[in-house]
């Protein structure tokens, strides 16, 4: 496109390139505010944590390969088991979906030049990185938490877990919560305000609806977790009492607060995957999603209803019957919006003309795994059955089908789908399909026998088991499956890494994609779009006239905003042109602020209160400097 572009267009793109350019090298990456670079940073960091969580999973499975094994002692097993959950949920899935996919793709899909708050965005990333480092410093210094990822009190109280492991957990999750909250607010404002003028809400891609729903859910769910964590630390560090019955506390308070966060969290993990599915399916079936408005509504409804079902994690606690029956009913209601989405995907595949390339294969695999995980999930709304199988391997099977099958599979599919856009190169298709089949089969070998193991009576979180109960065979198969699964994932990584250097050039739009990101070059320029795109449907790339209008606009200098570092803002619902925003540029303050916050958390965990106060003062100074006026950029 560049080569053939007429002179006027080229002058404009060159000017925009100069305006949006960031410094080269490491400094450029540290001070970047470009949502695409931040997305890439998120991606590699999240993948590093995926690797760590994966190694932990392999350790768990190796310990359980047979009865009475001693690969890990019980203390280490409990630490590894806890860190596996914490890592995968807080430091892998959410940062990968919201941080990497959301960051990179949302501005592109809505035709914006960056996120609404670019520096806050950078800040979110650096806080995430520091929080992850913080909790892993705990692990490597021999102070990993070991009370499981939902950290029930009183086991997690000072009396029963005296070491600093739980403090690393509680402070680490508060720490990363800062990042997630800031990220979620950024996504909400970006989606509401930065859509290309003309993209009213009903013209917004379903991907964006999913991320909007997730971000709202995060903003409302995290305070409950933060409250629980702060109460726990007030107990542990300052000797207050909230949970211990001997002091008038109530241990179930923790469970309520945790699951008020924890169940919305499940949908927070899975909704981005739904969003990715609704991007990949139309492109590869070459048709629009069936029942678009119902799907958009369902995505939002799932996030909303997710707040009313938390006590179904607590059916064995001995709650009042009326309470459990209410929560069971609410849990059943939430099946409906999931059903709508499921059958919208399936019907779209039937009525379209699908090409089963690697990205769509991952989505089909996801649909199959989601049905299994969804069906076992419905069973847990049958209270007596829940009370029989909760805390067994049946529930472990269920949530791995949901979290690994239904959330991670679309993320893997998304990696293949957007790889050409981000890298400018194609991955190896045959290799990609082989990786899919290997991973899909291995996933089922690993997790399906867990249903049977649960029904054979094996509780979860046992570091070992006796030989005479008939559990050994299932465990052996699961462990072998897990090794195979590891191979499958490594083969995905190998394909993408090799293709990054050797892949065929991809061009702008190798798939005939449905949404706007395919209209810009691969990889996109710093400013994303030289012309703010014209949009008249959620499948903007298939509106040929609009894309032709973009080219005419570039030539004529309409909607180009080339006077400065600018992007337009629209009205929330109708997306009418509202104003032109002057966007901030590169800054060292976000990483410095993250460092100052790290210092506070480090001093708190060392219980050096004076130093913590000094670090807080430093943070305030840094924040003041960040928000002080800066010299104009060239």
């Amino acid at each position: 496109m560049e080569a053939a572009a007429p002179p006027a267009s080229r002058t404009r793109t060159e000017r925009l390139g100069r305006i949006w350019e960031e410094p080269p090298g490491v400094l450029g990456w540290v001070t970047t505010v470009d949502h695409k670079r931040i997305g890439i940073l998120y991606f590699f960091t999240a993948i590093a944590f995926f690797f760590a969580g994966g190694v932990e999973a392999m350790l768990i499975r190796t310990q359980l390969i047979g009865p009475n094994q001693a690969t890990l002692d019980p203390a280490t097993f409990n630490e590894v088991m806890t860190m596996h959950g914490v890592t995968m949920i807080f430091f892998f899935v959410i940062p990968l979906s919201l941080g990497a996919f959301g960051n990179y793709l949302l501005p592109l899909m809505i035709g914006a030049r960056d996120m609404a708050f670019p520096r806050l965005n950078a800040f979110s990333y650096w806080v995430y990185l520091c929080a992850g480092a913080f909790i892993y410093v705990g692990l490597f210094s021999g102070n990993a938490p070991s009370a499981g990822w939902f950290d029930y009190v009183p086991l997690a109280s000072k009396t029963f877990s005296p070491g600093p492991g739980i403090d690393f957990y509680a402070l680490g999750l508060l720490f990363v919560g800062i990042s997630t909250t800031a990220g979620a607010i950024n996504v909400i404002v970006t989606i509401f305000k930065l859509r290309a003028p003309g993209m009213s809400l009903n013209r917004m891609p379903l991907f964006c609806f999913a991320f909007l729903a997730v971000s709202f859910a995060l903003v409302f769910a995290l305070p409950a977790l933060n409250t629980a964590l702060i109460l726990l630390e007030l107990e542990r560090l300052l000797g207050m009492h909230f949970f211990a019955p001997a002091f008038g506390g109530y241990p179930i308070l923790w469970q309520n607060l945790f699951w008020i966060f924890g169940h919305p969290e499940v949908y927070i993990i899975i909704l981005p995957a739904f969003g990715i599915a609704t991007s990949i399916i139309p492109t590869f079936t070459r048709r629009r999603m069936v029942a678009f408005p119902l799907v958009a509504l369902a995505e939002i409804l799932v996030a909303f209803l997710g707040f009313g079902v938390w006590a179904h994690h607590m059916f064995a606690v001995g709650l009042a019957t009326a309470t459990t029956v209410y929560f069971a009913a609410a849990s059943l209601v939430i099946v409906i919006p999931s059903g709508i989405q499921l059958f919208s995907w399936v019907t779209t595949i039937i009525t379209g003309t699908p090409r089963f390339k690697t990205p769509l294969l991952w989505i089909v695999g996801f649909i199959v795994l989601f049905i299994i995980g969804g069906l076992s999930g419905v069973m847990f709304a049958a209270i007596p059955f829940d009370q029989q199988t909760t805390d067994t391997y049946f529930v472990v099977a269920h949530f791995h089908y949901v979290i690994f099958g239904a959330a991670v599979f679309p993320l893997l599919g998304g990696m293949f789908y957007w790889f050409p856009k981000v890298s400018g190169r194609m991955y190896n298709e045959r290799w990609g399909q082989a990786s899919f089949w290997l991973t899909f089969v291995a996933t089922n070998i690993t997790f399906f026998p867990m249903h049977l193991l649960g029904l054979a009576g094996m509780p979860r979180r046992d570091y070992t088991y006796p030989a005479h109960l008939g559990w050994s065979g299932y465990n052996l198969i699961e462990t072998l499956g897990a090794y195979l699964l590891g191979l499958g994932l490594l083969s995905v990584a190998a394909n993408l890494i090799v293709s990054l250097f050797r892949g065929e050039p991809a061009g702008e739009d190798p798939w005939g994609g449905d949404t706007l990101e395919w209209s810009t070059s691969s990889p996109p320029p710093e400013y994303n779009y030289a012309v703010i795109p014209t949009v008249s449907s959620p499948y903007a790339m298939w509106d040929r006239e609009d894309r032709e209008a973009d080219e005419a606009n570039l030539e004529a200098g309409r909607r180009t905003l080339e006077a400065g570092h600018e992007t337009p803002a629209g009205t929330v619902v109708d997306g009418e042109w509202d104003e032109v925003l002057e966007m901030p540029s590169k800054s060292a303050w976000p990483p410095l602020t993250a460092l100052a916050i790290s210092a506070i958390f480090a001093m708190v965990i060392l219980q050096l209160w004076l130093s913590a106060a000094i670090a807080t003062a430093v943070l305030l100074l840094v924040l003041a400097a960040w928000h002080g006026r800066e010299p104009e950029e060239a």
Binding site: Y250, A316, G339, I340, I350, T353, P354, D391
Partner: protein, 311 residues
């Protein structure tokens, strides 16, 4: 063996039946959805639905029918059957519905069992009369545990500061394994127990025996063992009725020799295993609260001699 699908009580039967029904319906739903995907693959070059053709209206109707209408029917049925009808069966029993109460207190990592108003106390063994409605009260002494005998009933959490209850009813005499289901720390994996359901007459006899104080040691070795037990830390944690050992931290040992297993189902209760256990409990249950006292083999042998007489 310890499967909820091998039920030995009406409640466990109900739950197992519920499972098989849910499995059938889930299998049909799964088969249907996968069949639709297969149709999508077979018709990959043809747009539109089979028979219905290319109509957005038909497409949306399909989504509403399969995604809303059919699920609503199934879910309402499931809710009524499981959460309104079956729930009443497996819910905590009213006091009038049961003929005796057994209280189980979860400890890290063993089970303390008390029988109504009786003085009898066992650990990691629950004896009940068969074909009798027993109210099981579940409490905790430290962290949260969960009481679960898959063949007899659902599980119930043991929450500090709270009393929960379920019904235990064994249709026939037999031994049923149970295990802690809520993660409770280092030795969560070694916190199992057995329920011994005996014919009511046999149970009454057993209970009467368990109410007796511990047997006075007969031989010299056993008497030396008793003295060592009382002089060392053993007595500060364990109770042996009829002696000055009144500790409540660890299991009541009044009739230790009558039990089949040790250390919450970790090892068999033989003199050799008992010796191995008291000499170095940490090698069998790392992290367990029971310390190794380092008294030397001769003294441990004497203690074992005493304990094995506590029938």
């Amino acid at each position: 063996m310890v499967s909820p699908l091998d039920p030995h009580s009406p409640d466990a039967h109900h739950i197992a039946t519920l499972w098989w029904w849910m499995l059938v319906v889930a299998g049909i739903v799964f088969g249907g959805a996968v069949a639709m995907l297969v149709i999508g693959w077979l018709r990959r070059d043809r747009p539109g639905l089979p028979f219905l053709g290319e109509s957005e209206r038909a497409n949306t109707t399909l989504v509403v029918a399969f995604g809303m209408a059919i699920p609503i029917v199934i879910l309402v049925a499931l809710f009524i059957v499981s959460d309104l009808v079956l729930m009443q069966e497996t819910d905590a029993p009213r006091a009038s519905e049961t003929t005796m109460t057994v209280t189980v207190v979860g400890h890290q990592w063993w089970w303390e069992v008390r029988y109504g108003n009786s003085r009898a106390a066992t650990a990691n063994e629950i004896h009940i009369p068969a074909r009798t409605h027993v109210r099981l009260v579940a409490r905790s002494a430290d962290v949260i545990h969960s009481f679960w005998v898959p063949e007899l009933n659902r599980k119930i959490d043991m929450i500090p500061g709270q009393s929960n209850s379920i019904e235990l009813y064994a249709e026939e005499a037999g031994v049923y394994r149970g295990q802690c289901a809520e993660f409770c720390g280092l030795q969560h994996a070694h916190m199992a127990f057995r329920v011994y359901a005996e014919p009511p007459a046999g149970f009454r006899e057993w209970l009467a025996h368990q109410e007796q104080p511990g047997t006075e040691p007969a031989g010299a070795e056993a008497r030396r063992g008793q003295r060592l037990f009382m002089e060392n830390a053993c007595a500060s944690c364990h109770t042996i009725a009829g002696t000055e050992a009144r500790g409540t931290v660890g299991p009541d040992l009044t009739h230790l020799a009558s039990r089949n297993m040790l250390a919450a189902e970790s090892i068999e209760n033989t003199p050799q295993e008992l010796f191995r256990w008291i000499q170095n409990p940490q090698s069998i249950k790392p992290g367990d609260k029971m310390p190794g006292l380092g008294l030397g083999p001769a003294r441990f042998h004497a203690i074992v001699a005493y304990l094995t007489e506590l029938r």
